[in-house]
């Protein structure tokens, strides 16, 4: 489950990101966000604060968070969540590159913004433990998450969740 329900607009944004590129779209080498170039726009942008890294499940979440216009740091896209039932372990996700990225220093805060499902929670705890030796790790606050198909965060809740983030225990 993603942190934000995909709205029609997001689908268009994603589709145009894909078609504009014309070349084959790959993943940013730095953050694993969808990108036509080896390094994506966000990673290349000198205005973005590289001391903060926000970790998300997939590229749709990057688009969602960008829409809140609250966040000025950089991202890291995991490419999924840990789910043994689906045969997805940490090795299948972009977790090692994240640890490498953060352990090199210069990152003051990692914000874990992974959805509030059981698998999202597993992933948050797993990644959090690996990152804590290197930097401050926070997670965004979803309030009382209520899984199931009924509920998704909207942009306002997402912005609030980002603001109300707290340190991982």
């Amino acid at each position: 489950m993603h942190i934000l329900q995909q709205s029609e607009q997001d689908v268009y944004a994603l589709a145009s990101a894909l078609t504009d590129a014309k070349k084959q779209v790959g993943l940013c080498r730095e953050c694993y966000h969808l990108s036509a170039e080896p390094i994506c726009d966000i990673c290349r942008n000198p205005q973005r604060d590289s001391t903060t890294v926000c970790v998300v499940e997939d590229s749709r979440d990057v688009i969602a968070l960008e829409k809140t216009r609250e966040y000025r740091g950089k991202y890291h896209v995991l490419g999924g969540v840990i789910s043994p039932m689906d045969g997805i372990g940490p090795e299948q996700l972009n977790i090692q590159p994240l640890i490498r990225r953060v352990s090199q220093g210069g990152v003051k805060e990692v914000i874990l913004a992974i959805g509030p499902s059981v698998e999202g929670e597993t992933t948050t705890m797993y990644v959090g433990q690996l990152l804590k030796p290197f930097t401050k790790v926070t997670r965004i606050a979803f309030g009382l998450p209520i899984g199931g198909e009924l509920e998704y965060a909207d942009e306002i809740t997402l912005a609030k969740a980002l603001e109300g983030r707290r340190e991982l225990d």
């Binding site: 043994p84 940490p90 059981v118 597993t122 433990q129 009382l144 009924l150 998704y152």
Partner: protein, 380 residues
């Protein structure tokens, strides 16, 4: 509370059906396989969002239709509410309360409360522990809707953890054992955290239910027998007081037990510690009812449990819940029928199904609205 109206569209074998409930008791009468239980199932869905016989929403939708809808109008002290569930064959649901879409199940649950009692409920006393857990969990969702969320999360963690343990087991069988991965340690913590929340709430519900059940049991059995109900969580050293005072200590205890069983769990490929293995022991005069109770004793006990459920929900919610009786009344002898009748009076709105009216005591027949159910259609 009172369910005034029910509207079914493409639900089970109903195409389009409007039902008005005009008396505190409604008898749904009809041959087998006509749609009596289907109707009760629809009402139960409005209450719990769960069906205890459908494996997927697909089963709930009329033949090849893509969608179904259940709508009910409920009168409560605070006012009238309209509940609606929109089912899709894809499994995605939309639920609304007073035409407003609920984003969380929590916002919907708890509007309509009810107790279900069917002939299958004898399994509650004579069946495997799983039956008693399911019963207790269903009751808890009525008492504190947030439990629906905790319970689902616990089960999801359990499934993930079991999947991982199976992988570890398989790897060992292939002669390539893998060290327990970090993911397992995280799942241990999740299981323990949620497990303690489950156990704590099960205890809390039983603490209030047991005296009521004992009271009803002695009423029905004529004070001759002594009922005992003991909750035995699959968590050694767990006790009721500690878990309320110091849930963190409980959680540590849970984790310590997982450690103790780590070896066997990896060998068996499944989770052995936690509330998915809880038991609720029912004994009468120091004899376990499950193995040794006579059928009469078992029926009396189920009835006592159901009546205590009604009373507890009324206590907690502040209004009498509905009672759904599926095929069960005809199975009770006239004495127990009358006891049930006396207990519910006109306070608890009751929907009863039966294949013929002959089974009912006169008093039931006279005071009830009678609806005929025939091949997915209902008439007076």
């Amino acid at each position: 509370m009172y369910l005034k109206q029910l509207h079914l569209q493409q639900f089970r074998n109903y195409r389009q059906q409007q039902v008005e409930f005009v008396a505190p008791k409604t008898i749904l009468v009809g041959n087998n396989a006509q749609g009596k239980t289907n109707l009760l199932e629809a009402v139960a869905l409005l209450s719990t969002l769960r069906s205890n016989r459908a494996s997927s929403d697909r089963d709930l939708i009329y033949n090849d239709a893509d969608t179904a809808q259940i709508t009910g109008t409920v009168d409560r002290i605070a006012g009238t509410s309209e509940l609606s569930i929109f089912l899709r064959s894809s499994g995605r649901r939309t639920v609304t309360l007073n035409s407003e879409r609920c984003r969380r199940q929590l916002d919907f649950l708890g509007t309509l409360n009810l107790v279900q009692f069917s002939s299958l409920d004898l399994d509650l006393v004579r069946g495997a522990p799983e039956n008693r857990r399911r019963w207790l969990d269903g009751l808890l969702i009525q008492l504190e809707p947030v439990y629906a969320y905790i319970w689902r999360q616990y089960n999801q963690v359990l499934r993930q953890r079991n999947a991982l343990l199976r992988q570890i087991k398989k790897a060992a069988a292939r002669g390539k054992p893998i060290a327990p991965p970090g993911t397992l340690a995280v799942l241990d913590v999740q299981l323990a955290t949620l497990g303690v929340r489950v156990v704590r709430r099960r205890w809390r519900a039983l603490r209030r239910l047991v005296p009521l059940a004992q009271h009803w049991h002695s009423e029905i059995s004529g004070r001759a027998e002594r009922l005992q109900i003991d909750y035995t969580p699959n968590l050694q050293g767990a006790d009721e007081e500690t878990i309320d005072r110091d849930p963190e200590a409980m959680r540590q205890g849970f984790l310590a037990q997982i450690q103790l069983k780590a070896e066997i769990e990896r060998y068996q490929g499944t989770s052995l510690v936690g509330p998915h293995r809880d038991e609720v022991m029912l004994t009468i005069d120091n004899t376990p009812v499950r193995q040794y109770g006579s059928q009469g004793q078992q029926r009396t006990l189920v009835l006592a449990l159901k009546l205590s459920e009604l009373e507890l929900i009324e206590d907690v919610v502040g209004e009498p819940p509905l009672l759904l009786l599926d095929d069960v009344l005809a199975e009770l002898d006239p004495d127990r029928q009358n006891q049930l009748l006396a207990a519910i009076e006109d306070r608890f709105q009751t929907l009863v199904t039966a294949t013929h009216l002959g089974a009912f005591d006169d008093r039931w027949r006279r005071s009830s609205q009678i609806l005929q159910v025939n091949a997915g259609a209902i008439c007076e």
